[in-house]
Symmetry: D2
């Protein structure tokens, strides 16, 4: 493939980010079609990207022969369906996380991708963040010896809407947020999660309880080879977007993360103060671009993307197990989630 023709499905917040990056910055990629059911959104985008075809129905995008690859940034609930159709249309697929909210739907989508033999990359952008990449490189180089314990913290600066918080829409706090942390755990420990125990509650936003969601969770993790982990996710960090990860090894420890937005310290009667990264676009902006560069590079050079179907599936299973643990107040082995699948 000399150049990759790209179609972006969904022009919400993430979709616009991807469409803009694709159009401008990714070497070897051409944005050719965008799809969004909202006419205003579509018109706004077209005004700023005159050469790009804009369609209301993404099926028109899927049938456009100039599109070799699709970036799926439509609502979560539609991911699995769109992935299936894109696979059947023979398109290479980049899909925002999660593929689906249930393991069943995830497996159906993955099945379609495998049958079609098309490439699939999932949007775990932390794997392309300089901090996570450098930490992984150091771990692989033996700098901290055998990693034995990992802590991952993900805190959002504000509550989601109650509509989105509804577990039927977002999967609930753990599925929506901790899926990134579980992916980091697997990737940095190079191990599989065996069992989890989650404590969760609505502590700052009691209204979340009314839709069945929580605002804080702490999840204990045991890995297959015996290592330990803990994941904290919350929506209560009113000070900013706070993403940290720490890997303890036999020879040393790595801490990933930073809070400061601008490199300015103010020293006055109130003490020493600096600002905080407000949200994920500021924290992971370059990582969003780099994951698309990786996707396009894989297509151009016929390589397999480093974050694929198996990763999406494994992180979702951990989320589902943790969510069950949260509700049933007991330790849940991930095998239990898979076994249910087999039984059904």
């Amino acid at each position: 493939m000399a150049r990759v023709g790209i179609g972006v499905i969904g022009l919400g917040r993430m979709g616009r980010v991807y469409a803009t990056h694709t159009a401008r910055q990714i070497e070897g990629a051409d944005l050719r079609v965008v799809a969004d059911p909202d006419p205003t959104t579509l018109d706004d985008f077209s005004a700023r990207a005159p050469g790009v075809r804009a369609v209301a129905d993404y099926h028109d995008l899927l049938t456009d022969p100039r599109v070799q690859a699709v970036i799926i940034a439509s609502p979560t609930s539609t991911h699995a369906e769109v992935v299936r159709e894109a696979a059947q249309a023979g398109k290479a697929i980049f899909c925002e996380k999660p593929l689906a909210l249930t393991l069943e739907a995830t497996d159906e989508a993955i099945g379609a991708v495998e049958r079609a033999g098309v490439p699939l990359q999932v949007g775990f952008m932390r794997r392309f963040d300089r901090g996570y990449v450098e930490a992984r490189r150091k771990i692989n180089a033996g700098v901290i010896g055998q990693p034995v314990m990992i802590r991952s913290i993900g805190r959002d600066p504000h509550r989601t809407s109650l509509e989105f918080a509804n577990p039927a829409v977002s999967g609930g706090l753990i599925v929506d947020m901790a899926i990134h942390d579980f992916d980091s755990l697997r990737w940095l420990m190079d191990d599989e999660i065996e069992r989890v125990y989650a404590e969760a509650a609505s502590l700052v936003y009691p209204e979340l309880a009314s839709v069945g969601d929580v605002d804080t969770a702490t999840i204990n993790v045991r890995f297959a080879r015996g290592g330990l982990g803990n994941v904290e996710v919350s929506r209560t960090a009113i000070y900013g977007y706070d993403i940290r990860c720490e890997v303890v090894g036999a020879l040393g420890t790595l801490e990933i993360g930073y809070l400061r937005e601008t490199p300015v310290l103010l020293l006055n009667r109130d003490g020493v103060t600096h600002d905080v990264v407000p949200h994920f676009p500021e924290r992971f902006g370059p990582a969003y671009t780099r994951q698309l560069e990786h996707f396009v590079e894989c297509l151009l050079h016929d390589r397999v993307p480093v974050v694929g179907a198996a990763d999406a599936r494994a992180a979702l299973i951990a989320c589902l197990a943790a969510t069950r643990s949260q509700h049933e107040r007991r330790v849940v082995c991930l095998r239990e989630i898979e076994d249910v699948m087999k039984t059904n």
Copy 2:
């Protein structure tokens, strides 16, 4: 009481620290007698503190009428017995943590103290550390709103001896170390722990498994009023002594802790480097002094020490529940530990 005559029982590492502090720095306190069964230790101390009576048998200290208060720094396994005898001798008591390794022995010691009506303070020195004190002050002042989540990390720089690691001697990792963290959790959240779930393993020092101990544990916590917590304790921090605590509130978050020992940064080809606090005397030295100052001040002004029998008991119960959870791989309610007591 115009001045307080002090006796120190046990001249091990902590005992010598206390004896030195008492002799020199605590306003209103006079070190009058020290007791230690080891003749060399006793002679060494006497050489540097000529006016202080030195006895091999602590019973001789307990019968010395010039001693109004004892500082118990003998081996953990003897604490309960010595507390009982000191109480019966009518002495005010400062006892290193823990009072005992079992709830039964703890309750017996506490019973003796209550019957004798003598003051008792337990060595939770973090309550006198400037960081913890300032954090608690800020929480009480409403600076972070309602605290909802707390994380406490305690990492030791090296493995203990296998003799000490033996749960029969030290209580095991969780009892030996996390007792400080559980006390911090209760104090800073101003709440009681309801249930715990611990994952623990011997990951860096497999030889610990041979004596029944572990080197790393992560413990999920739920409080009575619904708040969440997590405690991590380990002996694997080869880089130094790493004690941190973080309290998340509805209006902000507090982080307590520091790693740097000397205020020097080195910038060279290896990057930017600073050293790390090596162990607890460097980190909590002033807090050890301040807790004794508080103890003496309480005696002089007839006040009740802020860290007493109930705190020692509650932190131990959390440790016992977490240790049981570790072994039985299930969530354990603290009530369960107390109920066993009642049944016996």
Copy 3:
């Protein structure tokens, strides 16, 4: 102007950066022509930017009617000449710093620009760095009260070549490096520099003395309204690229700068370590892009760039005064530099 046709003169390190940014990322700008006398450089660039005209002689670029604006990134010694010719050709001009190594040549270039009535922006990219911009915003908002003292440190990670170090080529350490610091001083203090005193020496690289240059300088500054300043520049920071600025005000102090490259801390037996920004592309990459965006935006909306001829001239005068102070071991008033001009 609907869109701006851009020509880049000189495809050295900075020129390639500008050409790449222009081609890809600047809204409203089209890279149309590049010029470089080296055939290999030209071929390399063409291979990656097929639609862009590539010429060996920049005069061919200046006569191309599709070019409305030029970015001058040729060797410093050619800047003044190219600026003059570009002005005469009626092109809008973005020129890397400095415009020239002498005040005379600078004034000739500025004169040509003024006679031609074309826009001119000079490459003081720190004015577009988030740290400097935020500090300036806070100062203007009164956050630190009246600024009274400013310190600016600029340290390069390694020696330049002896060819470049030659003051006839680069102007010497102070002209080459401190020109950025003097611009920051003027901008953040909103004041003019009145007099300077520089101490400078070849301390790490004695070979620099053989070509008449130094590797370290510390320059005391007095401002017209009485404020004080200090500038340190050096090429001895083998640990990385270290750019800091501190503004002390009556109500508080601001520190600008950061050293960490990746957000990863390593904690091991050697202490706590992080890496360091290696050089200016990593530190000021986004600022290089933003200054071009500003330039293009000014052209599109017929506005005057915020960093123009007067700023280039004032910073150079401070450099020349400091260099004279360095050589004559005395305090030099900036008026002295200007007076020489008038006499000549």
Copy 4:
């Protein structure tokens, strides 16, 4: 000498600190006499130190045979006179900085000390601060190679009284404050200062100008072996007490200093905030104790204190040269200050 009998002259702020430390914490030292002309101060002290003789006239202290060593903490203007008398009385002398405000008086005092053959230590407590000590150790160990440039910043949190600011009383800002920095420069660079150039002004507190003082100064320094330095002193740091030092070497750079008072970070809507060391007792408390320990240890073991007459003299000369530079707006060689002495 088995134990050292100590007399403290002057019970102002520093005198009380020294008297308290001596009485309680210095091994081998006994506080025997204190002297202060103010009856209330004397009574207050006596009430808390019943066994210590208290005299109004320090001459009575000097004739007390139980006093082997005096700590001089009387007003600066009396130092030289008291040093002379103490030397004549055969007492070992610890004197707060500076020995005197003029080189003449300094030399007279030093002459008396030398004739009497008594030990003399001067209160440059930074030499006993863990940060400075560790930095010096690293420099001597070659960690940063040859040190070539040093920056020392000393900022006080508030204006002194106008009475004290009067140069006739305190020597002015540079003599009062920068004397510590010049001592650090000499000690850490292991070199002598050759010439200085100072810019100084009253920028935040214009009322200081009315008594002939300033609130901010920046001083360029050249060392005898060619190294460079810069000293900034000010009284405008309303955020706290800010003492920093940075030594640049051929193989790396060392930064000494810290700002945080309590190890607590607050993260809320205003960003991330920590407090600041308020003033010198908090920053250098342990160093004040350690320098007295060193003094007493030298007396007990018949060793020469590491900070003596020559250091006091050299730092004062640098201050006098910088003050002259400030007033005459020219570079001043330190030799000039000494030559004036010889001429007189």
